[in-house]
Assembly symmetry: C2
Homo-oligomer: 164 residues x 2
Amino acid sequence: MSDAAEYRQAMSRVGGAVHIVTTDGPAGRAGFTATAVASVSDSPPTLLVCLNRASAANAVFKANGVLCVNTLAAGQQDLAGIFGGLAGVHGAARFARSAWTPLPDGTPALAGALAAFECRLAEVHEVATHSLLVGAVRHIVLGPMGPGLAWFDHAWQRLVGSGG
Amino acid sequence: MSDAAEYRQAMSRVGGAVHIVTTDGPAGRAGFTATAVASVSDSPPTLLVCLNRASAANAVFKANGVLCVNTLAAGQQDLAGIFGGLAGVHGAARFARSAWTPLPDGTPALAGALAAFECRLAEVHEVATHSLLVGAVRHIVLGPMGPGLAWFDHAWQRLVGSGG
């Protein structure tokens, strides 16, 4: 078994897009910053998000049964910090510093994100410290295209596409 | 429900590291290129890989019960193409054009990769067209650090870290 510190060091070499995952509904509004997001299938469109079981947001996502994955653009790292808990702001107050539009199932889509995927929570699997939230994608919004925000080598990075 | 084409277009905006996932054992050697890899937990170190249920490799991974996630460095895109099926090379022949070292559980680690995570297959969940392979990380190898290979905006990209 590798240990946690060795694993985190190796994972710092796995670059990835940064997302803010949101929910809203009867259990309230919540959101968190995630890099552990994967596409599962395009038939039907299905994605997966890992969420800490110890987080206050965990029960809120499960109770609402809907989620939105907002893929951040380069330049949105301050917001990623807020939703990652780095700014000491918790709960619904995290939403105060940016513009959000409710999608058809009520989840908040972030202005300026490269893409937003609104999902119905289709399955949950509990694995170690985290819940695997499997989302059936129901609505997609494309924002303006540009460089993406990535996390790699212990820091925010800019991921530039073919168009510059 | 969003459709497959719309979903793939939106997913092209989600940048991600590129990996070659390998196995070896009684069922033979196999490997495929993946971007759908996520870290699940560091306690204990656990990751997740999505693998098409229709692929020939699927049964091989399940039978061997071990896998290695090799995180590619910038410059290894030709190899990513071979293991992604773009070069028309199938099965164990894909391994011929690069150097591999067996890790303690027998899976092939790629020379020059940024990191390699050898895992025991701990759980499998079938979701839509894909299998979610949950791997308990047992051995880690760090390669030379440098820019990573990413897939973003329909093309290979170079993801540069803090050290350049």
